[in-house]
């Protein structure tokens, strides 16, 4: 009971409440602006959270995450331009509805569906998370090491189109995580006699570069000089009758379950949840041909599915230290800023904070109903009148100020810039960025635990795989790495058999 009181008193303090409300509004704005995305926004936000209370910082992350996932529906419906990648499926029926003059109705359905999907997801996080965390009580250094390896392998293999490139990126991240003073022996590694490198590469500096600069360059390439006209954004008021709302209930239940399932899987994201939910709604419909032509159930399924992924992606992140998607990786980064090491021990050492964040994910999902209503949506749609080209230098300045205030060092600006350019090229050559970030986050934990395990076993390497739990996780990791190779072989065999 004490912990519940502690969580609620923490979450409902003035700072966290103001942070959740402000960030939810900001999140909808960010989602509504094509070219900006929640990953970039949270990466830009993290440097500012150093001096904040952890629950204020996490409340902002939760608000931006949930708000922007709904905000992405606004341009998807009005312009057929998904504000976030997860809103692609929303364009299928949302835009035809807008063309029929039903934009307001589509936006209302998107708003309610997003809020419900996010709420269901947060409830899943609050119920499954603690159970999974309890199961990790038996973990020792060997298990922690394999959990980190499993997380790395899952993100490396499942994110992106090429598993080998994903694993290569993960290894690069782990290697970058070794830069600086070795925490066990105090030896300087890869520091090239530079004092500023002794503390290692700053995670947030790399994060801001990797996730904010590539979209900035993409905005510059698009060179939108005009923005949209007021006429393009005119919305007529609309009502959604109760009978129609009731008809969405099966779609909302199905899409919530799909979104939660996808969220728990490391590597899958909101866009996959939205597509699967959309396809499931279409398959279950008595009139599947109406999908893609302005069926409101299509909007409800896609938006509910992509928001149901949000909190669920935090389940493996908060209990095991394995983020379900990039934003979950950023949340782990936010925790690191406040001196909290992600991993299985996080839940046990900081129950008030983890529990508070779960409640914040729930509250910010519900806040979408307040900040994403019809009138508010009208306002948010207006941000699209801003010429995209003006966002290029403004984001660049925000990146610079955010990075500079971390350590007050000009060299960090150049590290951020170099990381951003590398990120831009990596994206072009299909090297996923998430495994690099995860390597930086989990690398130190993996190294410390493997060395601790070897110290305990006096150098006996078999200790890493002879304990039952570590053996299971090690086998799962191996299976995950071998999975794409086996799949490629079987594909080739099937293709050869088909030729014969």
């Amino acid at each position: 009971m004490d912990i519940v009181t502690q969580i609620l008193s923490g979450v409902f303090a003035v700072g966290p409440v103001a942070a959740m409300i402000g960030a939810s509004i900001l999140g909808v704005f960010i989602g509504a602006l094509p070219g900006l995305n929640p990953v970039m926004a949270i990466a830009l936000l993290l440097p500012l959270t150093y001096s904040m209370e952890p629950l204020v910082a996490l409340g902002m992350v939760a608000g931006i995450y949930n708000g922007s996932m709904y905000g992405g529906a606004i341009p998807a419906i009005l312009l057929r331009i998904p504000g976030t990648p997860a809103a692609i499926a929303t364009t299928f029926d949302g835009y035809p509805m807008a063309q029929r003059g039903e934009a307001s109705r589509a936006l209302k359905i998107a708003c309610w569906s997003s809020a419900l999907g996010g709420t269901a997801s947060a409830i899943a996080l609050m119920t499954i998370g603690p159970i999974l965390a309890r199961a990790t009580l038996a973990f020792g250094p060997a298990e922690y090491f394999w959990i980190a390896m499993f997380g790395m392998a899952s993100i490396g293999v499942l994110v992106g189109s090429d598993a080998v490139k994903g694993l290569m990126a993960a290894t690069l991240g782990l290697l970058l995580g070794t830069v600086g003073l070795d925490q066990l022996s105090g030896a300087a590694r890869f520091t090239f006699d530079q004092v500023w490198l002794l503390s290692g590469l700053d995670l947030i500096v790399i994060l801001v570069g990797l996730y904010a600069l590539p979209p900035v360059i993409a905005l510059a390439e698009a060179a939108d000089l005009k923005g949209l006209s007021a006429a393009q954004l005119k919305l007529e008021p609309a009502k959604v009758p109760w009978s129609e709302v009731r008809s969405f209930i099966p779609t909302w239940v199905r899409s919530s379950l799909i979104g939660i399932g996808v969220g728990i899987l490391p590597g899958a994201g909101g866009n996959i949840a939205a597509f699967l939910s959309y396809n499931a709604a279409k398959s279950a419909s008595k009139d599947p041909d109406s999908f893609g032509k302005g069926n409101p159930a299509g909007v409800a399924a896609a938006e509910c599915g992509n928001n149901a992924d949000n909190a669920a992606s935090m389940i493996p992140a908060l209990t095991l230290g394995i983020p379900g998607n990039v934003i979950a990786a950023l949340v782990l980064g936010a925790l690191l800023i406040h001196g909290l090491q992600p991993g299985p021990q996080l839940f046990h050492q900081n129950p008030g904070l983890v529990g508070g964040f779960m409640v914040q994910m729930l509250l910010t999902s519900l806040l979408i109903l307040a900040v994403g209503g019809a009138a508010a949506t009208k306002v948010f749609a207006q941000v699209q009148r801003l010429p995209g080209v003006l966002l290029v230098p403004t984001i660049l300045v925000l990146m610079a100020v955010g990075v500079y205030v971390i350590n007050g060092r000009v060299v960090d600006l150049w590290i951020m810039f170099a990381a951003g350019l590398a990120g831009y090229v990596f994206e072009k050559v299909n090297v996923p960025l998430a495994p690099i970030v995860l390597g930086l986050i989990l690398g130190p934990m993996a190294e410390q635990n493997v060395r601790r395990a070897l110290l305990i076993s006096r150098g006996d390497i078999t200790e890493l795989v002879t304990r039952p739990i570590s053996a299971v996780i090690a086998l799962a990791t191996l299976g995950l790495i071998l999975f794409p190779i086996v799949a490629a072989f079987s594909r080739r065999r099937r293709a050869a058999a088909a030729k014969r």
Partner: protein
């Protein structure tokens, strides 16, 4: 899979991994073992990417930019901006880049630009210097 790009990418990662492994081998005891193994694994994955591309890659065009000219303008302006921050001060350099970069990208409304720069820099100043009280590189005119 674009053959030439992936061969180059794999080779770069392999070289990076090998360099890291050699460098780590010089570190004493367990401090060097872990990064050395990682370096070798990275080199292995790099080689795998390069070999895969050489054996099964196709010469399919995969442009590295959507609009090379604008990328060059943006990256150059970004680099100049970062170089100017410690010289001119944070807010002066920021105001300059907010005005100059959109203009370089083809935005031709000077009044709109100057207003945007003024409003934006004022907001950043209020948040970082007034509310958060963060020390930022001093403006050049304050040093006279």
């Amino acid at each position: 899979m674009e053959r030439r790009q992936d061969i180059a990418l794999g080779a770069i990662f392999a070289a990076l991994g090998l360099y890291a492994a050699v460098k780590a081998a010089a570190y004493s005891g367990a401090s060097g073992t872990y990064p050395m193994v990682l370096g070798l694994v990275l080199a292995g994955f790099g080689l795998l990417v390069a070999v895969k591309a050489a054996l099964r890659g196709q010469a399919m065009p995969r442009p590295l930019t959507d609009h090379t000219g604008r990328v060059i303008v943006t990256v150059t302006a970004g680099a100049i901006y970062l170089a100017l921050v410690p010289v001119l001060g944070f807010y002066t350099a920021s105001a300059l880049v907010v005005v100059a970069l959109p203009a370089a990208l083809g935005f031709r409304k000077p009044v709109y630009l100057v207003l945007t720069a003024a409003v934006f820099v004022a907001i950043v100043w209020s948040v970082f210097s007034i509310v958060l009280e963060k020390p930022l590189p001093t403006e050049f005119w304050q040093t006279f």
